[in-house]
């Protein structure tokens, strides 16, 4: 007679455990969604504030755009990244040429490797690969630098001296990243096509003049412009993600390390995701 209540209790207990685990899982999912929404919202707010301070720095009298800091950041982010961008893009040009060659040769169109490389590099791989390189090269460094400043109370000291951290720190890094990425994308386009040209000419025996003529014919103004537009947007994404992660560092050296890793990962995902959206939109619009 006493078995029935025990069974009832264990059933209730099992049900309670199941409900609790469902609740916990739902709570974890909700927290994850909230964190992501908060991240996107935070990025948007940071972009708004940064744009506001860019405008004030350029057009409001009495507020100086910190040109020396901007120049310093452009050297650090842009100039110092040139060798690595050149190296990577030459390799990309060579890889593309060698990967496409067998297929094109089977159609008897080996010289068309020039068209493929020109379009792929200028519209896509120039800005994208440069953006990915800059995510690691500049994004991680910006996040680590600002994060270390947060930890050493430098940001607090800026505010305490009535200096706005966005104006003082974020704006120069933002402008430098965007301008540098556009400039580096131009270099990447030229160098990537040159890598393909060298491979086409030396390895695939495509006449140099034919290669150059086909490259010129393949490219239109819109190809350059869409590529450079994407490079600018990638620059915005890298700067905002890096500054956001840096400004939200907590937990000392571990927090700084976490911010740099998060910056690189989030930048790469954001860049490729944004690139996919742009490519789809340009395809739909016939651009």
């Amino acid at each position: 007679m006493s078995a029935a209540p025990v069974s009832e209790d264990s059933r209730r207990s099992g049900l309670r455990v199941a409900v609790e685990s469902v609740g916990r899982a739902a709570d974890a999912q909700a927290r994850g969604v909230r964190r992501r929404v908060s991240f996107v919202g935070g990025l948007a707010a940071l972009l708004g504030t940064t744009t506001h301070w860019c405008y004030r720095g350029m057009f409001v009298p009495g507020i100086r755009l910190r040109r020396a800091a901007l120049a310093g950041q452009m050297v650090r982010i842009g100039t110092r990244a040139v060798p690595i961008v050149v190296l990577v893009q030459v390799f990309i040009g060579i890889i593309l040429a060698l990967q496409m060659a067998p297929t094109l040769e089977s159609y008897g169109q080996l010289e068309r490797v020039a068209d493929v490389i020109a379009i792929a590099i200028v519209r896509e791989l120039g800005p994208l690969i440069t953006g990915i390189v800059l995510s690691g090269f500049a994004g991680a460094s910006i996040a680590a630098e600002i994060g270390a400043m947060v930890e050493s109370e430098e940001i607090k000291a800026l505010r305490a001296h009535a200096l706005n951290p966005f104006h003082f720190l974020v704006v120069p890094r933002f402008l430098a990243t965007v301008l540098s990425l556009v400039g580096l994308a131009v270099i990447a386009d030229v160098v990537g096509v040159f890598g393909g040209f060298l491979t086409g000419w030396w390895v695939l025996d495509v006449p140099a003049q034919t290669y150059l003529d086909l490259t010129r014919e393949a490219l239109e103004l819109k190809d350059y412009l869409t590529g450079l537009f994407k490079a600018g947007v990638f620059g915005v994404l890298i700067a905002m993600i890096a500054c956001y992660e840096g400004l939200h560092v907590s937990g000392g050296a571990v927090g700084v390390g976490r911010a740099t890793t998060a910056t690189v990962v989030k930048c790469i995902v954001a860049l490729i995701g944004t690139d996919a959206v742009f490519t789809a939109v340009f395809y739909a619009w016939g651009i």
Binding site: A148, M149, S152, E153, E154, K156, A157, R159, A160, H161, A162, L163
Partner: protein, 289 residues
């Protein structure tokens, strides 16, 4: 704040933070005190008593939950409540105070001289030669002129604090905040920093607010003291009142708050602050739980 001698008036200040379990921890629980013009007020208390939070509220780093913080600098006709002030309004007050942070908080990418020059460059339109002269003068005041071209990474802890002090005084502030000025320093360097603070207070006639738990330093520099415990102001009064409490044998003290302050000031291991048997005397005093 009717009294013009009052520079900062803090009333019923409450500040809470979210804990990891979704609840709230009340770090400041109705703190009230005034800071008088030209005095050095020491805010003291044990770790976690809320003194750093209080300083962060005073300098506008934290938004308070309730209460008010009124500032009345010399150029202000009416006091300004920073809890409701806009960023622009508060920035005008910020230009009238300087802060020495616990770590010095020097900008690591700038030299010592550039650190001191930065507030001047950003908030004044004076000639670079004048800025250079002021920087030299400020560094001379803190005996750091020989290190003007060094980066913060090349300085010792005491030198960083001196440089931080030079930067804090760059705009000739009316109020100076010090966050644990003796923390991490040997006794000799700590005493030297204290002397420097007293010297600057006298020369520049500034009002100083010092957050510390170093009692030797506190008794050296204070005109008045406030003791915080569990987010509340336990006692606020002149230094001699605290000296008298410190020197009174604790067996003769009957008031629980006096016994608690006596234990803190003397650094005794046993007493109401460290009472592990259930509720401490202080908790009984303030009615926690």
């Amino acid at each position: 704040m009717p009294d013009p001698a009052v520079v900062i008036s803090v009333a019923d200040l409450v500040k809470s933070f979210a804990d990891t379990e979704g609840g709230q921890i009340r770090v400041l629980d109705g703190v009230t005190f005034d800071v008088l013009r030209g005095e050095t007020l020491v805010i003291m208390g044990g770790s976690g008593c809320g003194k750093s939070t209080l300083l962060n509220c005073l300098i506008g780093e934290y938004q308070v939950d309730s209460g008010r913080i009124l500032y009345r600098t010399k150029d202000m006709a009416e006091p300004c409540d920073i809890t409701g002030a806009s960023e622009v309004e508060f920035n005008e007050i910020r230009k009238r105070f300087g802060i020495l942070f616990q770590s010095g908080a020097l900008f690591n990418s700038l030299t010592v001289a550039e650190n001191v020059a930065l507030p001047l460059e950003e908030h004044s339109e004076v000639d670079p030669a004048v800025i250079d002269f002021v920087v030299t003068m400020k560094l001379q005041q803190v005996k750091m002129l020989a290190h003007r071209d060094k980066l913060p990474a090349q300085l010792s802890g005491g030198q960083k604090k001196r440089a931080g002090l030079a930067r804090a005084t760059a705009l000739d502030p009316e109020i100076l905040f010090y966050d644990e000025p003796s923390a991490g320093l040997d006794p000799v360097t700590s005493a030297a920093i204290d002397n420097l603070m007293m010297d600057l207070s006298k020369k520049l006639q500034v009002t100083s607010v010092v957050v510390t738990h170093e009692m030797d330093s506190a008794f050296r520099i204070a005109d008045r003291m406030i003791m915080l415990e569990k987010g509340r102001g336990l006692r606020c009064g002149p230094r001699r009142e605290f000296e008298s409490l410190r020197d009174t044998p604790r067996e003769t003290l009957s008031d629980p708050s006096d016994r608690l302050i006596n234990q803190f000031l003397n650094g005794h291991g046993a007493g109401p602050l460290t009472d592990a048997e259930g509720m401490t005397e202080f908790e009984k005093l303030i009615g926690v739980r």
